[in-house]
């Protein structure tokens, strides 16, 4: 039985969120707000712009789940998966651990983050995602 969550964060971004920005502005933003590892993950994705949006969406969701984490940009995330579907974690704020999951749905990226003490965040996130899927399956 995982421990109780201490926070939940949701972020939804339109895929064209940064479409008004030029390449240099996006590169500057990535250099300022993403860690080296996060930038490397972005570089491996088919669409670099979309990957940048995913990382920032994860940071935003993580910050909403655990607002005492300084600023949204301060979370250093370990990214797994693709820009379309994946998971991110950080233990930077131990003993609170944060897990985030994202999925591209239509023109949006939907990200859900959960903060929990110990190692329970990942399991809680799975439970929450399952609950959301079940609820969606029963929509009229």
């Amino acid at each position: 039985m995982p421990e109780s969550p201490v926070g939940v964060g949701i972020d939804i971004e339109h895929i064209g969120r940064f479409s008004h920005l030029g390449e240099s502005a996006l590169r500057r933003g990535a250099a300022r707000w993403l860690s080296q590892d996060e930038r490397e993950w972005c570089a491996l994705q088919a669409n670099w712009h979309e990957a940048l949006l995913v990382v920032l969406s994860c940071k935003e969701a993580v910050y909403k789940a655990w607002p005492t984490a300084g600023g949204a940009h301060e979370a250093r995330l370990v990214m797994r998966g693709s820009a379309a579907l994946g998971r991110a974690t950080t233990d930077r704020f131990a003993p609170v651990r944060l897990d985030a999951g994202w999925r591209r749905t239509g023109d949006s990226i939907v990200t859900l983050a959960i903060a929990a003490r110990g190692d329970g965040a990942g399991e809680l996130l799975e439970d929450l995602l399952d609950t959301a899927r079940n609820a969606a399956a029963h929509l009229p």
Binding site: R17, L21, G29
Partner: protein, 83 residues
Amino acid sequence: MDRAQIEPRVRELLVQALGVPSTSIDPDFSASSTPAWTSLNHLMLISQVEGEFGVFFSNQQIRDLTSFKGIVEAVATHLHGSA
């Protein structure tokens, strides 16, 4: 560089980072009255301002810089060491 020189450059950065028309940026332009001033666009705006003026804002400043006036003041303070 004085405020009269800083203001038009900040205005242009707001236009670029938020994707809003320059005519919408009056002296009271702020995040609270601008739907396009989202949290992610805010990050992009801050990094653009820092790069444009060669300044670096603290976490507290990043949270507080939510108005046209505030950004101009903060840049002027960084460049001149006083408000």
